[in-house]
Homo-oligomer: 453 residues x 2
């Protein structure tokens, strides 16, 4: 830990806690005021740290916070991306401490957004502050912190398009992923894409008495079960025609290399309290969550869900279904064939409406670039000479593909989260050591990047 | 309409409206105070009408209201059964007028419970008042109005057991069913039984990020869809082993007789706005809802069901499933084989818990009894000589079987509701003409029963 970080870490944490107290949930409009509060907070902190041209940029949706420090146009420029919006906290009752009242326990920060992404994004703000105060900033830097990552960054494309000139840089730096362990540094070099869909089925025009009508009309809940169940076969293969057509096939060598990453299936199952893992036949658990696409129901509802019993045949049934995609699959194309397929399999007597929530393109990052090398050196120096392992994440950060398309820039994903952080789950947490180690490693990236670029 | 009904009908309606304003929902404990209010209201009205020994009888659950008028021990005794509890009103937003603020529109009463069963139960209270005030009461009468019919009359069995002596009678009279139309009187002579179950599936011990884990663990929502979808085959047959073993098989003559009841499949589909009906292969729509058992999902939920998108694999998934049963099926036995079957088909990696909410035994009422004859004569006199058509209802009134077992009495189901009453649905209603015609016909039953018993 650098002297500056040691000296100021309590303040760093206090500031992060203030940010975590703002329930900036982007998927629910009732939190709009908190979205704006969070954006203003980031802008204020960038100013304090010494950034220029700090601006809360309005978009058609949630604002993007911008700030920069150009010390010398001849030096390389790092564009830092992060997001201040968070996932909803529900189910609230499963949290041991209030999701928006950050709590320190065994040196871990418990709060929604602690790891995804407020805690990790804030490492960059503090690394920047440290470099400014110590006059060690070795590259130009630009910040672009958005508020719609959890809902597919729906307005970021237009933002980038309008400001291409300002955003001109040499590399994108992101901390919104994980590492294998605090002793085993890793860099994320692959992300799955995403196609997030919603199905609405309508049977009778009103809820019906299940005694009077039961047996004579199609029940949209039974129909939904049929539709969803038919989307995967017994081997865990997705049955949507054409779904696998463009999936990247890895060589046996590549798969063998991946298999070397430390992993214990027993620990994995124990951590989730499941007796047996499940997934596509012919692939390992790690492959199922990285190089293979998948389909999951994220929410399903209809009829009476309250206490006790209600003998009703509901008029409507709903399901939210997302598919994780791998390189060469197009989310637009998958969303389209998903829609066509669902429409084609819905039983008679049921009306169907399929809508696309959002999507993201899968990406793979080259490991032979100057940028990757700089990151690798930074980790090696921060982690006593340990070279980071390149890994593919099962998650999606749609904007990484967007940056490549729109700005022609690769992203370096220096993630410091852990699988056990429970992001998107109750009791999300982020290790204080991860937070501080992240700040230290980020500073080193600037040093090494300036040195070899 | 009798002169007394004509003279007092506005007051009759005003009183019924007061009763309908009490949200006596039995399936949700938060309405407990309203349950008690409704019971007190009935007790008060029975007193006003001239009943003796009126009592709000406490039970382990909701109270039963009792009252009687014994004019001569040698005369036959009619035991009136009804219920003051109602179904939940949700989905509230589909109601055109507030469910608990009764509204008169085109001579129909719109309110939760208007038809099921407050409106129909109250016909008996007013028929009793009319006979008392006009000195025309020709039989002894006892009232037993309960508050747990919509949750399976869970405590009525014990109540009857404890008070067998008081409840001694010659026939049970119930208005909690429908008639074919206001011009086509009918008497319900068959009721389906019910087995109401709930399934809870547990996958991982916490909600998971669908990117990090998607493809590698069994998703309880996908598993629920599989389980539910497997319960019926393409022909609408229920696949639970042994489910049909004891189902009563009707003769072709009986089926031909049933087929004579006026019915238009086109009107049926139009009323529900469905393009195609659905049900067990080889049976008509009327048969599917009367002489054949069925299985319906009444509620299914899990994961994120709010606005927008949440990329989560939930820890739990739930489904409420009810099966309507026909003569010779035992609901206890069906609940047991359902539970065993579900436990046997749940996929690896998922824990299952199946619970029974409640059940009811199917019944068939003889049409050659003095009681049925008396009811038939009453309808014929009230409906210009039209003999009522005996029909089997798809619904369940579990206590009808209970009365036969415990008291050895058959029930005469003089229902005045219509299919279009939308009971258990938003905008439940009951025709004012049905209400008044019901009072008139009930009075006539007492006259004819005393005459031929």
């Amino acid at each position: 830990m650098t002297p500056y970080i040691k000296e100021h870490k309590d303040r760093f944490l206090a500031e992060l806690f203030d940010l975590l107290r703002i329930p900036s949930v982007s998927t629910d409009v009732t939190y709009q005021p908190d979205i704006n509060k969070a954006a203003a907070f980031i802008a204020h902190q960038l100013n304090e740290a010494g950034a220029d041209k700090v601006e809360v940029c309005q978009t058609a949706g949630n604002p993007v916070v911008y700030g920069e420090k150009i010390i010398d146009p001849k030096l390389p420029t790092v564009l830092v991306y992060g997001h201040y919006d968070v996932q909803p906290a529900d189910p609230i009752d499963l949290w041991d401490t209030p999701p928006f009242e950050p709590t320190l326990k065994d040196n871990k920060i418990y709060a929604r957004g602690a790891s995804d992404d407020k805690g990790q994004m804030y490492m960059h703000v503090k690394a920047f502050e440290s470099m400014m105060k110590n006059n060690t900033l070795a590259c130009n830097v630009k910040f672009m912190i958005e508020g719609e990552e959890e809902i597919g960054s729906v307005n970021l494309g237009q933002f980038i398009n309008e400001r291409k000139a300002n955003l001109d840089a040499d590399v994108i730096l992101i901390s919104d992923t994980g590492m294998i362990s605090i002793d085993t540094p890793s860099i994320t070099v692959g992300l799955r894409g995403l196609s997030y869909m919603e199905i609405e089925l309508t049977g009778p025009n009103r809820d019906l008495h299940s005694g009077m009508y039961g047996g004579a009309v199609q029940n949209p809940l039974n129909a939904m079960a049929e539709v969803v169940a038919s989307l995967k076969d017994a081997d865990g293969h997705i049955t949507i025609p054409g779904f696998y057509d463009k999936v990247e096939i890895l060589s046996d060598e590549d798969r063998a290399k991946m298999a070397k990453a430390p992993f214990s299936l027993d620990d994995y199952k124990k951590a989730l309290a499941i007796e047996k893992e499940f997934g596509e036949k012919g692939y390992s658990t790690n492959e199922r969550t990285s190089i293979r696409p998948t389909l999951d129901v994220n929410g399903m509802w209809g009829g009476y869900t309250g206490e006790g019993a209600k003998t009703v045949i509901p008029s409507k049934a709903y399901a939210k279904i997302s598919m994780r995609l791998v390189p060469h699959q197009s989310w637009e194309e998958i969303s389209e064939i998903f829609t066509k397929h669902i429409e084609s399999i819905v039983p008679d007597g049921i009306l169907v409406k399929v809508t696309t929530h959002h999507g993201g393109t899968p990406v793979v990052i080259p490991t032979n670039s100057t940028e990757f090398k700089a990151a690798s050196n930074a980790y090696a120096e921060a982690f006593d000479g340990k070279e980071p392992i390149p890994v593919r994440s099962g998650g999606s950060i749609p904007i990484v593909a967007l940056f490549k398309e729109e700005l022609g820039l690769d992203s370096i994903m220096m993630g410091f989260g852990l699988d056990s952080d429970a992001i998107h789950s109750p009791n999300e947490k982020f290790g204080v050591d991860n937070f501080l180690k992240g700040i230290e490693t980020i500073e080193l990236f600037y040093k090494h990047y300036a040195a070899i670029k």
